[in-house]
């Protein structure tokens, strides 16, 4: 117990936990919309696509400045989300297929560029691969500022477009009949998603970022029936996973932060699936058991 209190007063821990917690809030909020729109895996595609963006930004500028690299990731993410929308809207290729193709092709492009960067004279590309797996433990106060500012931008936009996002999530046809442009809303949604993925890359990496979107929202869905409640809970669950994951990984040696955060988020989702009142598995098993017992009782009476 004393160890945990000591940990909480540790400056590095405070910084990392603040960063991952904020990240959890942002991805929790946005994840709710992607999960409800049945686009949960879009985050996965965009996060893989960020790799060539990072490498190109590095090759063009030669710096390993986080802001520059993340800007590259942002551009690449926007391009890939645009391509996925284009292909699914104008051809018969389905969403999941377009996602899988662009994800692998962009990641492949990233690898090819990375191997090129390795031969790049006067440049040391070491450190670029931290974007693949993420290294929350290297978070600096400056990185937390990036997360905080970008996260605030995302949350403000969600707040401003709340009504539009809501109607598009639940009834896109009705929204279009009201005169809202689907293309414009898709663009806003993609922008928000890309921004929040990009700020998460440093902490949990390309591969695990998608889990940060899905697990907290699925957990929140079990406890709440309203969009507002779901978004709020999802943000709380996301923050909890971030802080708890950081806590556990700093308490033990050799525990990478990103994966531990994902495991925490999954445990929260698992508990919610089992024990949420009304919807949870335990409750529905109990209900079924009771119904069966009642049925037997009635049959006995009839006989």
């Amino acid at each position: 117990m004393k160890g945990i209190i000591e940990l909480f007063s540790d400056y590095t821990f405070q910084i990392v936990a603040l960063g991952t917690g904020l990240l959890g809030v942002v991805s929790g909020v946005l994840g709710t919309f992607t999960v409800l729109r049945r686009q949960s895996l879009l985050g996965d595609g965009i996060s893989h696509a960020a790799l060539p963006g990072v490498v190109i930004a590095f090759l063009l500028t030669g710096t390993k400045n986080t802001e520059v690299l993340l800007f590259g990731a942002l551009i690449a993410g926007l391009i890939v989300s645009f391509l996925i929308t284009l292909v699914t809207r104008y051809t018969r290729v389905k969403f999941d297929t377009a996602l899988a193709v662009f994800l692998s092709v962009f990641f492949g492009l990233g690898l090819a560029l990375l191997s090129y960067a390795q031969r790049h004279p006067n440049a040391n590309q070491a450190g670029l691969s931290r974007f693949i797996y993420g290294q929350a433990s290297t978070f600096l106060a400056r990185d937390v500022w990036i997360v905080a500012i970008a996260g605030l931008f995302v949350l403000i936009l969600v707040f401003l477009f709340w009504k539009e996002l809501k109607v598009f999530t639940f009834d896109p046809t009705f929204a279009q009949s009201l005169g809202y442009s689907r293309t414009r809303l898709d663009m806003i949604m993609n922008l928000l998603l890309v921004v929040s993925i990009v700020i998460g890359l440093q902490a949990v990496g390309v591969i695990l970022m998608s889990a940060m979107f899905i697990a907290p929202s699925v957990a929140a869905r079990q406890w709440s029936k309203s969009l507002g409640g779901m978004v709020l809970l999802s943000a709380i669950f996301g923050a909890m996973s971030g802080v708890l994951g950081t806590l556990v990984s700093s308490a033990y040696a050799n525990l990478p932060t990103g994966p531990v955060i994902v495991v925490c988020a999954s445990i929260i989702a698992g508990i919610s699936l089992l024990f949420a009142p009304g919807r949870g598995l335990v409750h529905s098993f109990y209900r079924r058991y009771k119904a069966r017992k009642e049925m037997k009782g009635k049959q006995a009476l009839n006989a």
Binding site: V35, R38, Q39, S40, L41, D44, L86, V87, Y90, T91, R92, V93, K94, D96, T97, A98, L99, A100, V101, F102, L103, S104, V105, F106, F107, G108, L109, G110, L111, A112, L113, L114, S115, Y116, R119, S129, I132, Y133, I207, L208, S210, A211, I214, A215, S217, V218, R221, Y252, N254, L255, P256, G258, P259, V260, V262, V263, S266, L273, R279, L281
Partner: protein, 369 residues
């Protein structure tokens, strides 16, 4: 023996064809993202296998990876069957969890062993020729040639034997159930084949190229044909082509071979997206533009036809007033009128519009276009 460059290309072609065969069914069943999930979770199978036998070259690792691959699909389906979440979310929860557990196990317990995530995820085809198969001391070719050849054969036999069943399960699972065979058995057989293919391929080409080879060529072929057999053949051809061109490109630019192959797969896919006859972006846009034009021509002709030789004809059908009645821009009116005049379907005399078609011709125009 064969020279290494030729060997690499041959392995790439065999793998591309082996991946394309089950890939077609994944694309048609809308399960493309399963490949992404399995390529990540097999790491867990390898790690668990490694803990059991403590040997990186043991076939137990391959077995473990294959089992975990099928388990990924099975667990996600169990989750989505609770109806508490949709299928995509279930996959999106299961595979990062499995992957995270694998990474945690590696970094905590296997730090000293030569088991790192890079070698699993990234793979390098360039090293394939160094991994030789020898029988009685005689070199009989790269190991990759045998595994990829075996995979191709296995997948072709599987699809050949169960072609009818696979087709039925994809296009009409309800009928399949009624006729009396379980879609679930075919489904898990397909998933096992996918899992084996991914596990056997990633060593040579890395997980990224496995996804690209499995989904890219079938997605491209999907834009080119409606016939299942053709789709399989086209996918195999497109995959092989991308493998060879990707290799040449990688040699030319001196970059990662799997990376460059994946880029070529994407390039070929984008070509099909843009220019595929009938289903490509360009033909879709052209078709929509043509339909829009025909619709406007019809609407205008119909309006003219309705008001011709009535008292209001000079108000309704005058080129300067018709814009108000149809509620269109004047520039649009001018454009549509010009195109109709050119087709001989409309005449303009003193600013008045005259329909040149009789009722039956107008009807034919309406229904033929």
């Amino acid at each position: 023996m064969l020279n290494p460059e030729f060997e690499i290309q041959l392995i790439a072609v065999l793998l591309a064809m082996a991946c394309a065969v089950p890939g077609v069914f994944l694309v048609l069943r809308r399960m493309s993202m399963v490949t992404d999930a399995i390529t990540h979770t097999i790491l867990l199978g390898i790690v668990i296998g490694f803990f059991i036998v403590k040997d990186l070259n043991s076939p137990v690792l391959i077995l473990g990876a294959t089992i975990i691959g099928v388990m990924t699909v099975w667990v996600s389906e169990l989750l989505s069957e609770t109806r508490l979440m949709v299928e995509e979310s279930a996959i999106g929860i299961v595979y990062p969890l499995f992957f995270s557990i694998a990474v945690i196990l590696i970094s905590r317990y296997a730090g000293s062993a030569h088991l790192d995530t890079d070698s699993v995820l990234l793979g390098e085809l360039a090293f394939a020729p160094f991994n030789r198969y020898t029988v009685n001391g005689v070199d009989i070719g790269a190991k990759g040639l045998y595994t990829s050849g075996f995979l191709l054969l296995l997948n072709l036999i599987f699809v050949g034997v169960f072609f009818k069943e696979l087709k039925l399960v994809i296009f009409d699972p309800a009928l399949a159930t009624i006729i009396g065979f379980s879609p679930a058995i075919i489904h898990y057989a397909l998933m096992s084949v996918v899992s084996v293919t991914i596990v056997e391929s990633f060593e040579a080409v890395g997980s990224v190229l496995v996804i690209a080879f499995m989904i890219g060529p079938p997605a491209t072929a999907y834009l080119l044909t409606n016939d299942l057999k053709r789709m399989i053949l086209y996918s195999m051809a497109i995959g092989s082509f991308s493998g060879i061109i990707g290799f040449r490109l990688a040699m030319f630019l001196d970059v990662s071979i799997p990376g460059s192959m994946a880029v070529v797969v994407g390039f070929v896919f984008m070509l099909a997206v843009l220019f595929a006859p009938k289903r490509g972006l360009v033909s879709t846009l052209l078709l929509r533009a043509k339909q829009r034009k025909t619709y406007h021509q019809l609407a205008l002709l119909w309006h003219v036809y309705q008001h011709e030789y009535t008292d209001r004809a000079n108000v309704e059908n005058h080129i300067s007033t018709i814009a108000k009645h149809l509620n269109w821009e004047q520039s649009k009116i001018d454009r549509i009128v010009a195109s109709l005049v050119q087709d001989g379907k409309l005449q303009v005399r003193d600013g008045m519009l005259y329909n040149m078609l009789d009722a039956s011709e107008l009807e034919a125009f309406l229904f033929d276009e």
